[in-house]
């Protein structure tokens, strides 16, 4: 329970390191692993999820907190970019790959394939 853990932490009943460990364990346990693509996702994000706000999330090492890796803003202005889905997905994939390589040298757990 986040609410109580934060409270115990703030008066020293729960040590800082134990708080982190418990929080990471809870985050890991709450991950929903799936190969199915989704357009919306809960805040503690499933793998392979795509939020409508354009933020991706990726889980790799289970003991590490989740990061927001990159930001893809939906193209809402007509004529500024090609509006084909294929191009958009390709661009997203390329950015994702670059970010993955840069941030996690252990390899890519997930890739975004074209449907």
């Amino acid at each position: 329970m986040w609410c109580e853990a934060v409270r115990w932490r703030e008066h020293g009943e729960l040590g800082a390191r134990r708080f982190e460990t418990a929080a990471r364990a809870r985050r890991t346990a709450s991950l929903a692993l799936s190969n199915r693509k989704e357009f919306t996702t809960p805040h503690n994000g499933a793998i392979n999820s795509l939020q409508s706000g354009g933020t991706y999330s990726l889980a790799h090492r289970m003991d590490q907190p989740l990061y927001s890796m990159c930001r893809m803003q939906p193209n809402t202005k007509p004529g500024s970019l090609p509006s084909t889905g294929a191009f958009c997905l390709w661009t997203s994939s390329m950015k994702m790959a670059t970010s993955s390589w840069y941030r996690w040298p252990y390899g890519i757990l997930w890739t975004l394939g074209c449907s």
Binding site: M1, W2, C3, E10, H11, G12, A16, E20, S30, S68
Partner: protein, 1090 residues
């Protein structure tokens, strides 16, 4: 505020984490040593109680504090290990009265998972080795050699991963440990291991015990010949040993956190639980064999985190959740059935979970009102810089030129007369039989002229000094007994007297010394100095309180202070003060057994010197600024201790603590004159002359920060001040424990912001927790409201899915619920924002507007929101900008776009900081505190060239504070003076778990650079205790990186410059290339920040 920040402690940590008892400072001296996270205090147990000996900072968070005695040593040594894996062994140098470092080192490992349950450090009772459990699965051994020196450390693999406690057993041929651990099914067990030093490995120990109480968490080793170990659980206490002895006793469910051994043979122990109950555990035994366990209730104390049995039934109870205590265990119970008598109480502000800053007088000086303590020891603490005067009576009187108190006879314990001097007359006030002050006459005194000095004298006489004469008056008849007249043309300018001596300074530099002999004034000596005399003092500082062998004289023209011997008036010492400002007051005084000469100048500066009472030698010259106007110095007594009152435009009390002079301002604007006025009706009171007023009152305890405690017997969690209604409101909760279950009741309480009287209460629903509270107003509504954010914490939920926002108005001193709004999660934070209400609800930021309904009532209506956080715990706002402190994802910056009614993210810090507090220093720079006791600053890059750069908050400052910060708030503890440079420096106050109140001040770059150089220089002169490194201590450190501290200065280190000896000060100043006086002034000005 700026990038360059100065971090300083206003209130030291007070939460006790460790304590131990032993013969540290001498073979026959019993010491209590207390650790308060980053500080250690060493006390000496005397018949008068605990006497403080030393109080020093440690460059690290103390994880282990143990006293041990190697073979053939007569005194104990102190082992300290820090959380960042540094250790040292300290011993006491009796000749120099200081700590020596016997050994030091680093026991960190490159690999290994730091243990979650807290580091363990233990020492074999026979001093063969030190054992450390720092990483899961590893037990580090530091062996001793035959001479008690430490040898090279090594690791032993430990199979148990979830270790709860480890202790060495007594009386074992080989070093043997007992390990309390939890298996992967959450069952708890103990097993023993022998440490094979040669093989550097464990050997299976003599016994083990499986399936203990599920709440077992503490081991107590029992000395030989009983031996064995006591295992403390939540419902059972077990004793077992190598002889298969197993004894168990059920206890009422409780969590015992602390113990102290009473007897050297280990037959009795004191146990303290999380409800503050003190029990005595007795091991009944026959023929060196334990036959049973017995537990007895002793009474209630603060919730103990450490218990140290001292001697003769006196026990020190150290606490992290309430005040620490010195208690006496009586043989007979009191009417309440308690055997515990509290002898002494030591203030503990920790844990500070929230605070607000209340500026009642709107002078820029805030009172900090903290939510302190936990569980039944919860309280509010009002922390105020400076000493308060509790005015009892006052009368309007203009033009007071002097004040003195007189007793009706020399040996009376109380004062009776108050002599009030004016420019051309003197009035006398006296306490009548009804304890009222009324005007009276002392016939032998000259009431038609200004009095320069008054004093009780021996032989039941009174002394009055005027410009023309010195008069002796009988206490009984109040008639003139003798008189000395000033020679024609040489009127008395300044004078001083004590019980038997009078020193007069007349025009032309004449100094006249009189003594009282057989009720007669006898002129003993008369000399002429080369310059006019500006001030004199004859206060006795030697063994004879009625006769002084030294006189202090301040001079015009050559700006000097001189020490003259009495009765000859021979010059012993001349001290040139320098500059052009004349000394206006001198005082000889003894504080805490140390003699000083204090010399106050006309510009508000004060010189202090150590004075050798036998020789008159002056040493250790120091200079501080107390104000801008001439100062008048006077001694007074409070609670049996002598202090000095400095009357000026910024009245100050000068006092001694641990043989060190300290200065604390008095919370009065200006005091012209002061004298002690100790009456039976109002003991230890003072008479104070202000502009146009004479008042009499008592003085608060003499300390830098004055702390008032408002006990709650429940835990306050969030607090807020509302100036308009003159109230404070806070969220609190109380534990309710019955034999069946444990529950909590949560409240919103309202109290008066001056008297702290409880005015109103609102009880939240079952399972509803108060999480946040603010005072705010809304657009198009002139009222001011309290808004409370809550969460429904249901046992079956993993996360709160429901909460409320409650809007209260204060009407006739009562909380009136105006609006409630249900939320889909816990409301962790609330802010007033653009006439609306901003709420952090679980992972979302939600903005509500205050809407007027057709029926005239209001409601909160959701306008827009922003998500993308793990858990938005802390928010601060400034203009249209919002800073969010996330549980895991550091700081992000959001902006509210009015036209679009949208909240968007502008930038974020991509480090994975686990936040505990955030604040906006200004529009561009934000500060955060995180889980690993670091603070850091980030800056918005509005002018960056690319979107990516603009979307990243740049980290511009990093610093290891060593304290867990729960709250950062703008504010100041000290009065902001417009004529002071320090008054222009913006400050943020922070509060921590260990009770620290600190200040972060943003400095101009030039000043920062200067002080950074000073800090670098000081590091060379001031070595940390145990030779621990300051640079390593202050480096930013978490699991992922360690980096040098940058753009933060350690104010505690810098201000310790003022504690150096004069010689060392000069060396530091030489290294800085500035005069020592200038350097002292600049550092002293910094102390005015807190």
């Amino acid at each position: 505020m700026s990038v360059w920040n100065y971090v300083v402690t206003a209130h030291k940590p007070t939460s006790v984490t460790h304590s131990c008892v032993g013969n540290f400072t001498g073979p026959n001296q019993l010491n209590l040593i207390v650790a308060k996270c980053t500080r250690i205090e060493i006390h000496l147990l005397t018949p008068q109680g605990l006497q403080p000996m030393i109080d020093v900072p440690i460059y690290g968070r103390i994880a282990t504090l143990e006293l041990f005695r190697p073979h053939n040593e007569t005194q104990d040594f102190l082992f300290i290990a820090t959380e960042r894996y540094k250790f040292c062994v300290l011993q006491w140098d009796g000749e120099k009265s200081e700590l020596l470092t016997r050994a030091m080192g680093d026991v960190s490992d490159r690999i290994g998972r730091p243990t979650d349950n807290g580091q363990i450090g233990i020492i074999d009772p026979d001093c063969r080795l030190i054992g450390l459990h720092l990483y899961d699965g590893l037990f580090k051994v530091i062996p001793f050699d035959n001479k008690g020196q430490l040898k090279e450390a090594f690791n032993i693999r430990l199979e148990e991963l979830q270790v709860l406690d480890i202790k060495f057993l007594y009386g074992c041929v080989k070093p043997t440990i007992v390990v309390l651990y939890q298996d992967n099914k959450d069952a708890r067990h103990v097993k023993t291991y022998e440490v094979a030093l040669k093989d550097k490995d464990f050997v299976e120990g003599p016994w083990s015990q499986n399936n203990l109480d599920n709440g077992a968490g503490l081991l107590i080793p029992v000395p030989a010949p009983l031996g064995g170990v006591i295992i403390i659980g939540e419902e059972t206490i077990v004793y077992c040993n190598a002889n298969s002895t197993f004894r168990a006793i059920p206890i009422k469910q409780s969590i015992i956190r602390a113990y102290g051994r009473v007897d050297p043979d280990g037959s009795r122990y004191l146990l303290g639980d999380n409800a503050g109950i003190l029990h005595l555990l007795v091991l009944t035994h026959e023929r060196e064999r334990v036959t049973g366990l017995k537990i007895e209730y002793l009474g209630e104390t603060s919730i103990a985190s450490s218990i140290s049995y001292l001697d003769n039934g006196v026990v020190y109870v150290g606490s992290r959740f309430g005040d620490s205590q010195l208690v006496k265990l009586n043989l007979q119970a009191d009417p309440n059935g308690s055997y515990v008598e509290v002898l002494e109480r030591y203030v503990n502000l920790g844990p500070i979970v929230d605070f607000c800053v209340v500026d009642l007088d709107r002078q820029g000086q805030g009172q900090v009102v903290t939510c302190s303590g936990a569980f039944k020891d919860g309280s509010l603490r009002v922390v105020r810089n400076g000493i308060g005067i509790n005015e009892q009576a006052s009368v309007e009187l203009q033009g007071i030129k002097g004040l003195w108190s007189l007793k009706s006879s020399f040996n009376d314990p109380y004062d009776m007369y108050l002599v009030v001097s004016f420019i051309s007359e003197t009035r006398f006030l006296a306490m009548n039989m009804e304890d009222e002050l009324e005007e009276t006459e002392i016939e032998g005194f000259d009431a038609q002229t200004q009095t320069l000095f008054c004093q009780n004298a021996i032989n039941d006489l009174l002394i009055q000094v005027t410009a023309n004469s010195v008069r002796l008056v009988s206490c009984t008849s109040r008639e003139l007994v003798d008189q000395w007249n000033a020679p024609e043309g040489f009127s008395v300018n300044v004078a001083s007297a004590n019980a038997s001596q009078v020193l007069l300074a007349t025009g032309g530099g004449h100094l006249v010394y009189l003594e009282i002999k057989d009720s007669k004034l006898v002129e003993v000596k008369h000399i002429q100095l080369e310059h006019e005399i500006s001030c004199v003092d004859l206060n006795p500082i030697g063994e004879n309180p009625q006769y002084s062998s030294l006189a202090a004289v301040g001079m015009w023209t050559d700006i000097s202070v001189r020490i003259l011997s009495l009765p000859d008036l021979e010059l012993i010492r001349k001290e040139n003060l320098g500059g052009e400002i004349v000394p206006r007051s001198v005082l000889l005084c003894t504080l805490e057994g140390v003699s000083y000469l204090l010399c106050a100048l006309g510009d508000g500066h004060l010189f202090s010197f150590l004075l050798n009472a036998s020789t008159g030698e002056l040493t250790d010259r120091k200079k501080v600024s107390l104000g801008t106007q001439p100062i008048s110095l006077r001694t007074f007594s409070s609670k049996g201790t002598t202090h000095v009152f400095a009357s000026s435009d910024r009245p100050t009390v000068i006092y001694s603590s641990n043989k060190k002079l300290l200065y604390s301002n008095v919370n009065l604007k200006e005091v012209n004159h002061m004298c002690p006025f100790n009456t039976a009706a109002i003991p230890d009171s003072l008479a104070i002359a202000k502009e146009g007023e004479l008042s009499i009152g008592t003085i608060d305890d003499i300390q830098k920060l004055h702390i008032r405690t408002i006990p709650l017997n429940e835990q306050a969690r969030r607090i807020c001040h509302q100036e308009q209604s003159r109230t404070l409101a806070f969220c609190s909760f109380k534990h309710n424990q019955t034999s069946i279950e444990e529950s909590e009741t949560h409240f919103v309480r309202l109290l008066d912001h001056q008297t702290f009287e409880f005015l109103s209460i609102y009880q939240l629903d079952q399972y509803e927790h108060g999480c946040s509270i603010i005072s705010c107003s809304f657009s198009d509504d002139n009222n001011v409201y309290y808004c409370v954010g809550t969460a429904y914490v249901l046992p079956e939920e993993n996360e709160p899915s429901k909460g409320r926002i409650l809007v209260f108005a204060v009407e006739d001193g009562r909380l009136q619920l105006i609006v409630e709004k249900e939320t889909k999660g816990a409301v962790y934070s609330l802010n007033a924002f653009n006439g609306k209400l901003l709420a952090a609800i679980n992972q979302k930021i939600q903005l509500y507007k205050w809407m007027l309904r057709e029926d005239g009532s209001h409601e909160l209506q959701s306008e827009c929101g922003h998500h993308g956080h793990i858990l938005a715990l802390y928010t601060q706002t400034r203009g249209d900008f919002i800073v969010v402190g996330d549980l895991m994802k550091s700081i992000s910056l959001l902006v509210y776009k009015h036209e679009e009614s949208a909240i968007e993210e502008l930038a974020r810090d991509y480090n994975a900081n686990w936040m505990s507090a955030v604040e906006m220093l200004d529009d561009e720079i934000y500060i955060g505190a995180e889980n690993n006791y670091n603070i850091f600053t980030v800056r918005k890059n509005s002018d960056a060239a690319t979107d990516e750069e603009r979307g990243r908050l740049e980290v511009v400052g990093e610093y290891h504070l060593g304290e867990f910060v729960n709250r950062l708030r703008h504010g100041s503890l000290v009065m902001r003076l417009p004529d002071s440079e320090m008054g222009q420096i913006p400050t943020v106050i922070f509060g921590t778990i260990n009770g620290v109140i600190g200040i972060i001040a943003s400095l101009p770059h030039e000043q920062y650079v200067f002080l950074e150089k000073l800090q670098s220089t000081l590091v060379k002169f001031i070595k940390g205790v145990g030779n621990l490194s300051h640079e390593q201590w202050r480096s930013f450190h978490n699991d992922k990186k360690t980096s040098e501290a940058r753009n933060f200065l350690d104010g505690d280190l810098i201000e310790s410059f003022l504690d150096l000896s004069r010689n060392k000060m000069e060396e530091v100043a030489k290294g800085m290339g500035v005069p020592v006086e200038e350097l002292s002034k600049r550092v002293e000005e910094l102390t005015r920040l807190h």
